[in-house]
Amino acid sequence: MLKLTDVVTHYGPLRVLKSVNLEVRAGEIVCLLGGNASGKSTTMKTVLGVVRPTAGRVEFEGDRIDGLPTEVIVRRGISLVPEARRIFARMTVWENLAMGAFTRQKAPAGEVAEDFERVWALFPRLLERQHQLGGTLSGGEQQMLAIGRALMARPRLLLMDEPSMGLAPVLVDQVFDIIQAINRSGTTILVVEQNAPVALSIASRGYVLQNGRIVIHDTARTLLATDSIRRAYLGED
């Protein structure tokens, strides 16, 4: 579904992505691992068109999308749950979700209502707080809102940037359960994470990004099982 080939991205004079090759097939959960400053967020931004790759190709469902403006790329069915949530603090929960459905303005009204129902079902706490301002929610609730907002667009590919960040462990488990549930209902997911064990526990495949390059690529099970990899790249033991 999504394919990055030899992608090079600069941030000002800095070459952040040196050569990234990665692929996400329909129906999968794939995770992209790496430490700080490895280029994970830049990869997300490159896919979304927020930054333009200096070289290489980004393809979505067979079409090239690198170079297209963000709002066009997003309309093809890609949604983002950004790092640190970044919900609209000055809007209510309901309005945030409505913004999520922005690309679906031409859709019949009934469908959007269905999407709201689906989000309420997934996150009953948000229903309770639907007229509260986003800025007043707790970290965990904001994460739910960010996910719900991304779902409102009925994406075919969901990008998630460090969903576990800043959350208590029990919340992290909840969030990843939800990610699995979303995937089971048909959405392909690419998760970028620092918390490798949790991400690998739900993914089918994993890539490890280091200094702007993919250094390892294997099935999640293999990655979790291989001690040397665990110690070197996943920061375990």
């Binding site: 941030y11 000002g12 004079p13 952040v16 700080n36 400053a37 490895s38 280029g39 994970k40 967020s41 830049t42 931004k45 068109g49 927020v50 930054v51 333009r52 403006p69 963000t70 790092e83 640190a84």
Partner: protein, 329 residues
């Protein structure tokens, strides 16, 4: 005078040209234009300290120009009956105008960018309104009709009367202010200003007392305007509020920008251009401001670093296309 890339011999030639210029000028009118160039170049150098060195966007610089002019008038004309000699009035005006710089600069210390610009603009406007209205109940400023009968500069009994005299006086002052600016730039204050201009927070973290440095910028910049103001008053032999409108602030700012902010000779060249070009197109005088406005827009869009500057000063790290905060990679 270590201007980047400006060889000694070129400076010498320029100096020579400038010294003999009035002798080869077509007529007295053009000597007057040259004198005006020197006057405005001095003003532009003053603003350059505030805007170009310290990075403080001052849209009300004309206030200092006006204050300097009127102060000189109070001390050396029939208005209050004071006729202090030139060599006494000039220093007094410089000091007092510098003080006004501190007064106006003080409230702006916590502001930055657009807000600083607007507040200084406000002060410029207030100054103009005071100049035009303070003839009631007590006649201080002479109101809309200004004050006439100002003494010309006189040194050792010799009173300046012809344009050529003024030209050499203004030229000498310009040379001194150029020297002072160059010295300041490479002094401790100069480095402090540059640090503040680049990143005020970091400057403070380095231990620079930004409050003092900013006030110094305002004071010194204002003092140059005090010089310019004295010159204007004593040359024109009169002052009017209309000499100190907002458009004049923009005019002087344009000279600084045109020459490339911080670039000393560029600023002088900017002054030369902006004073002489309207003279060349005298017949099209009515279109002057129209062209000026257009020039500002075009300059900013196509060449914000100024015509004469070689550095790409305003090309800092480009933000990602949609322009929000940069998150870590």
């Amino acid at each position: 005078m270590a201007e980047p890339g400006f060889p000694r011999w070129a400076a010498a030639v320029l100096g020579l040209v400038v010294l003999v210029a009035p002798l080869v000028a077509p007529n007295d009118y053009w000597i007057g234009v040259m004198a005006r160039i020197c006057l405005y170049a001095t003003l532009a150098l003053g603003l350059n300290i505030v805007v170009g060195f310290a990075g403080l966007l001052d849209l009300g610089y004309v206030a200092f120009f006006g204050i300097g002019s009127y102060l000189y008038t109070f001390l050396a004309s029939a208005h209050f009956g004071l006729h202090l000699p030139f060599l006494v009035t000039l220093p007094i005006v410089i000091v007092l105008t510098a003080c006004s710089g501190i007064l106006i600069g003080a409230p702006t210390l916590r502001l930055a960018g657009d807000y600083l610009a607007i507040v200084t603009l406000g002060f410029g406007e207030i100054t103009y309104l005071l100049l035009i209205n303070l003839d009631r109940p007590v006649n201080i400023t002479g109101g809309p009709s200004g004050i006439v009968g100002i003494d010309p500069p006189a040194v050792a009994g010799f009173a300046l009367s012809r344009n050529i005299h003024y030209y050499y006086l203004f030229l000498a002052a310009l040379a001194l202010t150029l020297l002072a600016s160059a010295r300041l730039r490479h002094s401790r204050i100069g480095w402090a200003w540059q640090a503040i201009r680049e990143d005020e927070l970091a400057a403070r973290a380095m231990g620079i007392n930004t409050t003092v440095a900013k006030l110094q910028a305002f004071a010194i910049g204002a003092s140059f305007a005090g010089i310019g103001g004295s010159f204007l008053a004593s040359w024109q032999r009169s002052v009017f509020p209309e000499n100190f409108l907002f458009t004049e602030s923009i005019n002087i700012l344009a000279m600084v920008i045109l020459g490339g902010m911080g670039n000393l000779l560029g600023v002088v060249a900017g002054a030369a251009l902006l004073v002489s070009i309207p003279e060349v197109f005298r017949d099209l005088q009515r279109y002057r401001l129209l062209a000026f406005g257009l020039m500002l827009m075009v300059l900013m869009v196509f060449r914000p670093q100024g015509l004469l500057s070689s550095e790409r000063r305003s090309q800092e790290e480009p933000e990602p296309e949609a322009g929000a905060e940069a998150s870590s990679a």
